[in-house]
C-alpha cells in the first residue's frame, strides 16, 4: 500500500489491515516517519522525532504479529505525545528552555497504557511554553503552523498534536487540557478532541501541572478513533488520587446508535454572547443537524456563567505556585508571556481564592441541574477560528483581545468552564470559515457519560459538511 494512502486512514480503518498482516507495523512507522520528516520544516509540530525508538518498537511489534500475538487496535499505530508527558529515557521539555535537558526515568501513565496497547511513539510534540496559552507559538522551539494555512496558529497548548493529526503525520496524539488545550487545537485544526470527565484518566506523569482541572486527552481524525484511544488510557490509577474508581464502559459500543429520544441543551447565556458570526452560523447549523437526526433541541439557561471569569482566579494562584520551583532561578529562561502571566498570581488574595472555589461550586450545581433536563449541551468550541501567528490580538465585535500572555483567555472562554466543572466535553469539526479554517462544535455531557457524547458526535460526524475534507498541507 502506498505510504501516503496508509497515512490517510483512520485507526479503525488501519487496525484490521495490520491484524490481517496486509500492512506491517514497520511499513506504517516508516510511512509516518517519512511524513514527519517531510512536514516538520512546514509545521514544526515536533520538538523531538523518535526515529530510532519508533523503528525499534515497530520491529518488535511486527515480530509479535508474526508470532500471532495481537495487542489490539493500537498495535503498530504511530501516535504523538505532547512534550509535557513524561517519556522514559526521552527528553521531555514541557516546551520550556528550563527543562530543555530533562530526561524522565518513567513513562506517564497514559504513555505506558499506549505502549502496552501496541502504539508506536513517533515523537514528542511541540506545544505552548509550559502549556500556558492557546497559540503554540513557542518562543524556544518555534511556532507550530496550522496545516490548513501555515500562516495561522494550530490552537494550543497541544498545537503540535493537533497539526500532526490533521496533516496525517500521526493517527492520534495525546495532549493535555487545562483550559481547552486539547479541544482548542481540535477546533483550529479540524480534528476530534476530547477532554473526558475529570478523574477518568490518570494525570500521573503530566509535568508542571495544575491543581485546578488538568486532564490528559486524545486528538484523532474520527470519533471512533477517539473512542479507541480513550478506551486505552481510561481507568483508575491507585497512584493518582484524582482518578475515580468507576467502571470503564466500552466507548465504541454506542457508536452508530439512533439519537431519537435524546435532548440537547443549547445555552442562551455566555457561550454565544461573544462569538464570530461564521462560527455561530456553523455551530447553529450543526445543532440543527442534530435536530434532523432526531435530537430534541431545548434552550437552557446558565445564568451563573456571568461569573465564569472568577474561575480563572484559582488558576492564577495555582500557576504561580506551580512555577515557584523554576521561576526564580531560571528567570532568564522564561518567555515573557508565561513569566508575567504567572507572576500575576502573586496578587491573588486567599479570600478571593476561596470565593473562586465557591463560584466554581455554584456553576457546577447549575450544570448538574440543567443536565437533569437534557442529555448533553451543544456549544461552540472556540469563539473564533484560528488567527494569524503574527497577531498578538484577536478582534471581536470591534474589541481587540490579547491572544497570548497576560490578559488573554478570551479565546478559551468556551472550553475552560468544563475544566472547572470536570464535565466531559468533545470537539468535532462542523465547518470551515470563508478563509478555509476549521470550526468546532463542542458537546458537553454528564459526569462519566463519554459514551453518550461519542454516540451523539459520531452520528453528527456522519452528516458533517466537513466530513472527509483534509488540509492543504498533508
Amino acid at each position: 500500500m502506498p505510504n501516503d494512502d496508509i497515512m490517510e486512514l483512520t485507526i479503525a480503518e488501519l487496525a484490521p489491515k495490520i491484524k490481517a498482516r496486509e500492512v506491517s507495523p514497520v511499513e506504517v512507522t516508516e510511512a509516518a516517519l517519512a511524513k514527519a520528516e517531510r512536514l516538520q520544516p512546514k509545521l514544526n509540530s515536533f520538538i523531538t522525532i523518535l526515529y530510532d525508538q519508533a523503528r525499534d518498537q515497530a520491529r518488535q511489534l511486527e515480530a509479535e504479529l508474526m508470532r500471532g500475538e495481537y495487542r489490539g487496535p493500537l498495535h503498530g499505530i504511530p501516535v504523538g505525545v505532547k512534550d509535557n508527558l513524561e517519556t522514559a529515557g526521552i527528553r521531555s521539555t514541557v516546551g520550556t528552555k528550563v527543562l530543555a535537558n530533562n530526561v524522565p526515568e518513567q513513562d506517564a501513565f497514559v504513555v505506558t497504557r499506549c505502549r502496552e496497547a501496541g502504539a508506536v511513539i513517533l515523537g514528542k510534540e511541540n506545544m505552548e511554553e509550559f502549556a500556558a496559552g492557546s497559540t503554540s507559538s513557542n518562543i524556544h522551539y518555534g511556532a507550530v503552523h496550522n496545516p490548513w494555512n501555515l500562516d495561522y496558529i494550530p490552537g494550543g497548548s497541544s498545537g503540535g498534536g493537533g497539526a500532526n493529526v490533521a496533516a496525517g503525520v500521526t493517527f492520534a496524539s495525546l495532549g493535555s487540557d487545562l483550559g481547552g488545550s486539547v479541544r482548542g487545537p481540535a477546533h483550529c485544526c479540524g480534528v476530534v478532541g476530547i477532554k473526558q470527565t475529570y478523574g477518568r484518566v490518570s494525570q500521573r506523569g503530566l509535568m508542571v501541572t495544575s491543581f485546578n482541572g488538568d486532564h490528559v486527552g486524545p486528538m484523532t481524525r474520527s470519533v471512533q478513533d477517539s473512542a479507541i484511544m480513550l478506551q486505552v488510557i481510561a481507568g483508575y490509577d491507585p497512584l493518582d488520587p484524582s482518578t475515580v474508581p468507576v467502571p470503564v464502559p466500552d466507548f465504541s459500543a454506542s457508536l452508530g446508535k439512533d439519537l431519537r429520544g435524546l435532548k440537547v441543551g443549547v445555552p442562551s447565556d455566555y457561550y454565544f454572547d461573544l462569538i464570530d458570526p461564521e462560527v455561530e452560523t456553523a455551530v447553529r447549523k450543526a445543532i440543527a443537524a442534530l435536530g434532523e437526526l432526531g435530537v430534541e433541541i431545548i434552550e437552557v439557561s446558565l445564568p451563573s456563567m456571568k461569573y465564569a471569569g472568577a474561575l480563572r482566579i484559582a488558576g492564577m494562584a495555582d500557576s504561580v505556585v506551580t512555577h515557584e520551583p523554576y521561576i526564580k532561578s531560571n528567570r532568564e529562561d522564561y518567555g515573557p508571556t508565561v513569566l508575567y502571566r504567572a507572576l500575576a498570581g502573586q496578587f491573588v488574595l486567599g479570600t478571593d481564592y476561596s470565593k473562586a472555589l465557591k463560584v466554581q461550586r455554584i456553576i457546577k450545581e447549575e450544570y448538574a441541574r440543567v443536565l437533569q433536563d437534557v442529555d448533553f449541551l451543544a456549544t461552540p468550541t472556540g469563539p473564533v477560528p484560528a488567527w494569524r501567528i503574527d497577531s498578538d490580538t484577536v478582534t471581536l465585535d470591534g474589541v481587540a483581545y490579547p491572544s497570548r500572555g497576560p490578559g488573554s483567555g478570551m479565546t478559551a472562554r468556551c472550553t475552560s468552564p468544563s475544566n472547572s466543572t470536570g464535565l466531559p466535553a468533545i470537539s468535532i469539526p462542523c465547518g470551515l470559515s470563508e478563509q478555509g479554517l476549521p470550526i468546532g462544535l463542542q458537546l458537553i455531557g454528564r459526569p462519566f457519560e463519554e459514551e453518550l457524547l461519542y454516540r451523539a458526535s459520531s452520528a453528527y460526524e456522519a452528516v458533517s459538511p466537513v466530513l472527509g475534507k483534509r488540509p492543504p498541507v498533508s
Binding site: 475515580v244 474508581p245 456571568k306 461569573y307 471569569g309 472568577a310 480563572r312 482566579i313 492564577m316 504561580v320 515557584e324 521561576i327 526564580k328 528567570r331 515573557p336 508575567y340 502571566r341 507572576l343 500575576a344 502573586q346 496578587f347 491573588v348 478571593d352 470565593k355 472555589l357 465557591k358 463560584v359 466554581q360 461550586r361 455554584i362 457546577k364 490579547p402 500572555g405 497576560p406 490578559g407 483567555g409
Partner: protein, 66 residues
C-alpha cells in the same frame, strides 16, 4: 480599583525577592486588572450559604477516604 506600582512591586518582591522594573510591571498589569474586574463582579454575589463540595469516597466496607 487602582493599586500603586510600589505596592505591586512590594508584593512581587515577597515572591522570593523577585524584582520587577516599571516596564515589566506594565506587562503584568492586564492579568491583574482582569482579576480585579472579576473580584468586583463577585461583590454582588452571596456566597455565604454554600455547602462544602469536599469529595469523600466510601469504600465498600464503609470506610471513607478523602
Amino acid at each position: 480599583m487602582t493599586i500603586s506600582a510600589e505596592t505591586l512591586k512590594a508584593m512581587i518582591r515577597d515572591f522570593k525577592g523577585f524584582e520587577l522594573s516599571d516596564e515589566e510591571l506594565e506587562l503584568v498589569r492586564p492579568e491583574l486588572e482582569s482579576y480585579l474586574r472579576e473580584v468586583e463582579l463577585l461583590k454582588e454575589l452571596d456566597l455565604s450559604g454554600l455547602m462544602s463540595s469536599r469529595l469523600l469516597r466510601a469504600k465498600e466496607e464503609g470506610d471513607a477516604i478523602a
